[in-house]
Amino acid sequence: MSITRPSLPVLAALAVALAAASVVMTFFVAPEDADQGLSQKIFYVHVPIALTAYACFGLGAWKALRLLLTRGERYDLESYTGIHQGTIFGALTLVTGSIWAKASWGVWWTWSSNQLVLFLVLFLFYCAYFMLRFSVEAGPRRERISAVYALFGVALIPVSFFAIRLASDFIHPTVFTREGPQMTGTMFAAFCTSWAAITLLAYVMYRTELAGKRTDLNLRELREALAR
């Protein structure tokens, strides 16, 4: 039995509906945090964006692994697009995180939090991916070098994710512990809705960007064929 992928417009409509639901859940259903007050609402956009960035980097690494195992050319573009999306969401994580830090701690950034510094390292590592990729001539060599680099980067994801727990980071809050999420049921429902909306939005953006890049490549080949 073959599994057909849902069409892009359907997914986009679902992402918009989920985003609307998440706004309602965040501002009208989830209670205000007793400690942080209204600024805690940033949690519902900041954490899903960060998790989506990790997922995009993971997707990029998975496609890179497929490229190295199968030599399938299409995986190079898929890996590149995944990492591109991850870097965009990584930048958004840093920006929304800074805003939340200013609201909660009174500073835009602190070097004493391992979670923050490791996320910045992860982000800069993937920024360097583009410098590496575009410094090598297009072809199988570039595909392999980019794939190996993408795979190295994915090792930083669990380090970044677990740093807060391993290093007893007292500055950055730990919401998800071994005992489960440290929030009320409605807060968790709002978080899950936001997470689903942002992940789906990222997937729609990934497929749209990939379709654009593939069309670009096909057009280039067509132009070369017609020029002969």
């Binding site: 209204l38 956009v45 900041h46 749209t208 960007e209 057009l219 067509l222 132009r223």
Partner: protein
């Protein structure tokens, strides 16, 4: 507007602006692809007409 409200509005605003900028970039790219596809289609038609005239 309280300071908490300002920060929440800024965080959500950044995300909204990002989505809008992304949509604008994709729209620009789509119009470029449309133009290039049109040029290639014209080129292919001209070539087909030329080949028929030669043949």
């Amino acid at each position: 507007m309280s300071s908490g409200e300002k920060y929440v509005a800024a965080a959500y605003g950044v995300f909204l602006v990002f989505v809008l900028v992304w949509a604008a970039i994709i729209a620009t790219k789509l119009s470029r692809l449309e133009r290039e596809t049109g040029e290639l289609a014209r080129l292919a038609r001209a070539r087909a007409t030329g080949e028929r005239a030669d043949g």
